[in-house]
Symmetry: C2
Subunit: 376 residues, 2 copies
C-alpha cells in the first residue's frame, strides 16, 4: 500500500493507498479535533487549502457527540462531509493528558470525562470499537504516552504493556472490520512506538511491533518536553529499525523546521496543532519567517500575510484588515489566520515533495529549515 | 436613481443605482458592524449567499480601527474587499444606545467610547467626515434616535433638532464629496424620519426632510420597544408623505413577517441583526417556521437545516453535524448557522421581488407572513 517513488539520503517521497484515496507523502495532516478545524474552517475550506488527510480525535468524539451517534449518521466522513482520507488517534494521548483521576490497569484506563466528569473506561478493544464506529481510514493503536522524563524501569514496563495492548488492538480491529455493518471495513491499524528518549527501549519496542506487520508505524511520545536535539537523536536511533516498506508517522510534530529535519530523517506523516493554534493568536508563517500580526507595524500594511503565498486568504485580504479583525475579536480573524497557516503547511509539504522529486531536497533543507521558524 | 418597476397595492418593486452597482428592491442589507459579519463570514461568503448590500457601523469603525486608517487603506470597500454597495449608519443609534455618559447639545453629542472610555464628540459634520472617510455608497444622516415611550414635547424638540442636523449633514457631505481626494465622491446622504409613535410629529418631520430632496429616506426610531401594530400604524401614517420616487428604508426591522408586512406598506430597504444574532444561538429560519437546533430531536437528523433551501450550508451539512458543532462550541457552528439565516433573508427578498413581478404578492403575503415567524 505504501510505494516509494524516490529517496534522498534517508528522506522519502512516496504514495500511500487508503479506502478514501491516495496520499502523497511526505504529508501534513490537518487537525480537526472535534470533527472540525478550530477557527470556523469547513470541510469545503479544507478542500480549498489543499488538505490531503484530516485528523480527528477519538477521545473527544467519544465524549461528544458520541461515536455511536457518528456511526448512526454514516461515519465520520459523511458526518463532516469530508471525502478524503481520515486518521483518528487512539485516545491514548488525550486520556493521559486531558482526563482526570485516571487509573491504569492491564485491561485499560479508567478516567473521568473532561466535559461532564462521567466515568469512562478505555482499553485497546474500546478504542478500536470507537474508531471502527467513526470509520476512519487509519486507526491508531491504543498506547500509553509516557511523560518525559520518566524513570527507565517505568518506561520499560509501559512499553511492554503497550505491545500487549497492540496485539489486542489488532485482534479487535480485525473482528470489527469483519462485521457485516462495519462503517469502513478497509480501516487500517497503525502501531505506535514508545520508549521516551531511551534509545535501547525505543529500538526493542520498534522491533517487537514491526513483527506484527501492520500497514504503518508511528513514533509517539515525542515533542512532549524533550529538546529538539533529543527528538532528532531518538528518530535517528529508531528509524533504522522501522520497516522500509511502511509509512512512518511522527506524532504531534511540529514547526516547519522540525518537519524538514524529520523528513530528512525518514519520516513520511506529520500532524500538529501548531499552525491552527498559533494562527488563532496571530502568529503567522511566511516564506521569510513567522510574523506576529498583533504588532502595530502591520496596522496600515496593505500586503497579504505572505506576499509569496497563493492561498485564498493571501489572494484577497490585507494584513491591515486581518489585524483589525483580530483586534476587534471578530471570529473571521481566526478563520483567515488558520486558513493561511494550514495552507502554508500543506504547501510546505508540496514543496518538500517537489524538491525530493527534483533531487534538490538538500538545497531546500539548507535554505528553509532554519529560516521558516525564525520570528521576524 | 430609484426606478419603480411595478407596484402591488403600496408594495413596490424597483431598482436603485449606486456608485458600486444597482440594487434590486425590496432588499435586505446584511449587517457587518465592524467590517465583517459576526460569525466568521468573509466577503467571499457574502458573495456566495446572494448579499446585495453590506451595512457597516460608523460608530464602531470610528472607535476601532479608526476611519482615518480605513481611508488610508483606500476606503471600506477595498479594506474589506467587498465590491458591491455599502450603506453606513450615522453612528446616531449607537451613540444613543451604546455609549456612556453622553451629553446632547445643539452642536452634537459628547460621549465616552464603549471600548476604551475615550471622550468622543460627534455631530453632523463629524458623522459625515467619518462616513466620507469610510467611502460608503449611502451615508445616513446623524439623528437622535429617541426612546419609546418619550414625552411628546421632548420628541417634538428632538425632531426639530434632527432636521437642523440634517441640513448640516447635507452641507458637510457636499463639501467632503467635492474634495479632490474624496474616497467615494458619489456618496449619497439619506435622511431619517423620527417622531416616535406620534403620527403628527412623524408626518410633520417627514414633510420637512422631504423638502431637502435627498436621494433616499429612512424611517428610524422604530423596532425599539413599541408593539408590531404600533410600528405598522406608524409606517402607514408616514409612508403617504414619503416621496414616491425615492427609496424608503425601515431601519432595524425585523422578522420575516415584519418584512413582508412592511413591504406591503411601501418599504424598499431593510436591515436587522436578527438573522445573524439568532443564528448564532441556533435559532434558524426555514420555509416552515423557526427551528431551535439546540433541541435534542435534531441529534440524529440527517436533513439539512431547511430541506427546501439551496444555500451552501443546506446543500452540504446536516442538522446533526451542525448541532454537534454548536454543542461542542466549535466556531464553525456559528458560521454555518449565520450563513444559512442570511441566505434565507436574501432569498426571502428575492421571492418577494418575484411575487411582485408576477402579481402574486398578495398570495405570497397570505401564505408566508405569519408562517415564517412561527416557532416549530
Amino acid at each position: 500500500m505504501f510505494q516509494l517513488i524516490t529517496q534522498s539520503g534517508r528522506a522519502r517521497r512516496g504514495t500511500f493507498q487508503t479506502p478514501h484515496g491516495e496520499i502523497q507523502t511526505p504529508v501534513f495532516m490537518n487537525v480537526g479535533t472535534q470533527a472540525a478545524i478550530k477557527g470556523a474552517l469547513s470541510a469545503r475550506d479544507l478542500e480549498l487549502i489543499g488538505t490531503q488527510v484530516e485528523l480527528s480525535n477519538t477521545y473527544h468524539l467519544h465524549v461528544r457527540p458520541g461515536d455511536r451517534l457518528i456511526r448512526d449518521m454514516g461515519g465520520l466522513h459523511k458526518f463532516m462531509t469530508w471525502s478524503g482520507p481520515i486518521l483518528t488517534d487512539s485516545g491514548g494521548f488525550q486520556v493521559f493528558s486531558l482526563a482526570e483521576l485516571r487509573k491504569i490497569r492491564e485491561e485499560g484506563v479508567s478516567f473521568h470525562s473532561h466535559v461532564d466528569g462521567a466515568k469512562i473506561f478505555m482499553g485497546p478493544e474500546e478504542s478500536m470499537r470507537i474508531q471502527s464506529n467513526l470509520g476512519s481510514d487509519i486507526a491508531m493503536a491504543f498506547d500509553e504516552c509516557v511523560k518525559i522524563p520518566s524513570p527507565y524501569d517505568y518506561v520499560k514496563r509501559s512499553c511492554e504493556r503497550t505491545t500487549r495492548w497492540l496485539v489486542r488492538c489488532k485482534a479487535a480491529l480485525e473482528a470489527y472490520n469483519s462485521e457485516s455493518d462495519a462503517v469502513n471495513p478497509g480501516q487500517m491499524l497503525w502501531g505506535i512506538n514508545q520508549g521516551a528518549v531511551f534509545h535501547d527501549l525505543r529500538i526493542a519496542h520498534m522491533e517487537e511491533i514491526a513483527a506484527l506487520d501492520l500497514p504503518g508505524y508511528a513514533i509517539g511520545g515525542l515533542a512532549v518536553g524533550e529538546t529538539h536535539q533529543e527528538m532528532y537523536d531518538t528518530i535517528e536511533a529508531v528509524e533504522e529499525h522501522m520497516p522500509e516498506d511502511k509509512p512512518r508517522y511522527l506524532m504531534g510534530v511540529g514547526t516547519p523546521g522540525n518537519i524538514i529535519e524529520s523528513v530528512a530523517r525518514g519520516i513520511d506523516f506529520f500532524d500538529c496543532v501548531m499552525p491552527s493554534r498559533n494562527g488563532r493568536h496571530g502568529h503567522l508563517f511566511t516564506r521569510d519567517g513567522v510574523i506576529n500580526l498583533n504588532n502595530r507595524k502591520y496596522e496600515r500594511d496593505a500586503d497579504p500575510i505572505d506576499p509569496q503565498c497563493d492561498c485564498p486568504v493571501c489572494r484577497r485580504y490585507s494584513r491591515s484588515y486581518i489585524r483589525h479583525l483580530l483586534k476587534a475579536q471578530e471570529p473571521l480573524a481566526l478563520r483567515l489566520m488558520v486558513m493561511h497557516n494550514l495552507y502554508f503547511y500543506n504547501e510546505l509539504m508540496r514543496a518538500i515533495r517537489e524538491a525530493l522529486e527534483q533531487g534538490s531536497f538538500a538545497a531546500f533543507r539548507a535554505e528553509f529549515a532554519e529560516k521558516l521558524d525564525r520570528r521576524i
